[in-house]
Symmetry: C2
Subunit: 351 residues, 2 copies
């Protein structure tokens, strides 16, 4: 299936006529119709979308499916290593992958601020189209709203996604068992640092690029390797610390990890020190933890390292029965500390 | 299934401690966790949601399904006859019904402006929970983002929905045939007038209340009656004129309707005249058109009128081969006029 050529190179809406999105582009009239037919349908072209219905009609394979949603409010919308469009597709594809599901279909809901440059809208939409093709999903239904100037921030993008789960796969926080190993898929903190640097206009000697990446393929390989995956979780808002604490809460276990085994690049470590952030809490957009029986962990790492996004994959700790707190970490000097969930947040609007 | 009692009557987040939503409520830390666990999961309680996964895992019946999404940006968020919460559930349930699907599962994506009153968030969330129970859907997955003050407008709610389509049902604009009849489910314009009146502080002698209503039950009855439904479309943004023009474009036909047969209440007619609006373009949230073979139209009207939201259901016109334009209307004095799609919009942020 190669319909890459079908994606127009330039904005298909005449920029000279409509350089900026107007309230009428969301009003249900001809301008909205032009935007949907002329831009969205050209970019996301597929039979379900082109049917022009109130929703997409889909032929569903037998079995179980996963369903998820995320609204994306990242600022700035263009950042080193990606943009809000790519993020909105990979983010939802990754959430489905974390459920052990292969993503098939996405919805796209746009909330656009009046005055948003049409050219930027096209960039976002074509990023979404490219990301969808790369991950093998179709954007089959959508919605566009325009809000008055000052009532938004350029563009917000919601995606919801449906994926299929193959027979025999039961991946969930509740499957986590004492004695399991914890595998981390790569180095931490690049997405958060890339966004903060861009937002604050900070330049580093080595530029930090977001780790934004799709995780469907590596998860598929893990499942194909016949591994008994208990739980996976991508490390977005709240970072590694947030993800492990959430799983620990649901599974009623304690995670013990070792700082020495958690990979952070020198550039990210330096930036975090400068900005006063802890990499454990930094959001990522292409990293995940995998929890599985300890005797399968080495094999999992081997499978993961074959993927470019997982070259730093490694075992970082293990699961034990619940002991008061969710996550503890052995520092480089050998002392143990509690890794709590943050009360508030380190970084607003990171995804 | 009666778990109505499980919905807390009062806001389960301590208002005295957090009277307003803070950036940290969207930050991936403990406060967000408190909001999700303490409010969302209590309101929407169901096994898929409570599993605490990155997405909901669902057992899907065999066959085809419909998938749709809508972002809701209505202002004001509380209006006569409903609020943004009820609207966001019924709107998506109705879009699924229009595909001939029975809605089963919804996602909910919140974009909340920093400073939004916690009490109002609870009102919106509990409206969603009630609307979900009333329509038999479960809100199985969700996402909460908080944006800085001045970058939103209180609250925006995206819902995406999945519904199942029974064997043998093929409802789509492309099924519309010349000779078909057009049935309108009720009087036009109440939602638009109710919102505008509230927004502009206009008081009418007879208060106009939104027609907001779920359409799943009446559609189910239509299908159970064995009618050969060709197409259905709810009359939201763009109103009756927008919906018919869209279907006409996809099906390559012309609709001829009669003004005399299109029901508009006196209160709405008066308000539209005062405000300079045309009821044909006014948005509705509980009205739809049904296109089906002419000899089945009477039976359809009979079935529809048994439902409170469809007491004014009636045949308003017919379908003929395409003749230059999408929709023509015979006026009360017998002359014909073209009913075009509006270029822009009558009413911004109506849904």
């Amino acid at each position: 299936m190669n319909n890459e050529a079908a994606l127009p190179l330039e904005c298909p809406i005449p920029i000279s006529e409509y350089p900026r999105v107007t309230m009428a582009h969301g009003g249900g009239g001809r301008l909205m119709n032009d935007l949907v037919e002329g831009m969205m349908k050209k970019a996301f072209s597929n039979p379900a979308l082109l049917a022009g219905h109130d929703g997409a009609v889909l032929d569903v394979p037998d079995g179980r499916q996963a369903f998820t949603t995320d609204s994306h409010v990242v600022t700035p919308i263009f950042f080193p290593g990606g943009d809000i469009g790519t993020l909105s597709v990979y983010g939802t594809v990754n959430d489905l992958a974390m459920c052990g599901a292969r993503a098939l279909w996405l919805s796209a809901g746009f909330i656009i601020e009046e005055g948003f440059p049409m050219e930027d809208l096209w960039k976002v939409v074509s990023s979404m189209a490219k990301a969808a093709r790369k991950t093998g999903v179709e954007i089959v239904t959508g919605d566009t709203k325009v809000v008055d100037r000052g009532k938004g921030d350029g563009i917000y993008v919601n995606t919801a996604g449906i994926g299929v789960i193959r027979e025999g796969v039961f991946v969930a926080p509740s499957m986590v068992r004492s004695g399991d190993a914890v595998v981390l898929s790569g180095d931490l903190g690049r997405h958060g640092v890339a966004i903060m640097a861009e937002r604050e206009g900070i330049r580093f000697g080595t530029p930090v690029v977001s780790d934004l990446a799709p995780l469907g393929d590596v998860v598929l390989d893990l499942m194909n390797a016949g591994l008994e995956i208990h739980c996976m979780r991508d490390l977005t808002r709240g970072g590694l610390a947030g993800a492990l604490n959430e799983i620990a809460g649901t599974a009623d276990v304690t995670f013990s990890i070792e700082e020495e085994l958690v990979k952070v690049t020198d550039a990210v470590a330096a930036a975090c020190e400068l900005l006063g952030f802890d990499p454990l809490y930094m959001p990522n957009e292409g990293r995940f933890v995998l929890v599985l029986p300890a005797d399968e962990a080495r094999k999992a790492v081997e499978v993961m390292r074959k993927h470019e996004t997982c070259v730093y994959a490694g075992i970082i700790g293990r699961v034990s029965p619940r002991e008061h707190v969710g996550v503890v970490m052995k520092s480089r000097i050998g002392s143990w500390r509690v890794v709590d969930m943050l009360s508030g947040e380190q970084l607003p609007r990171i995804c």
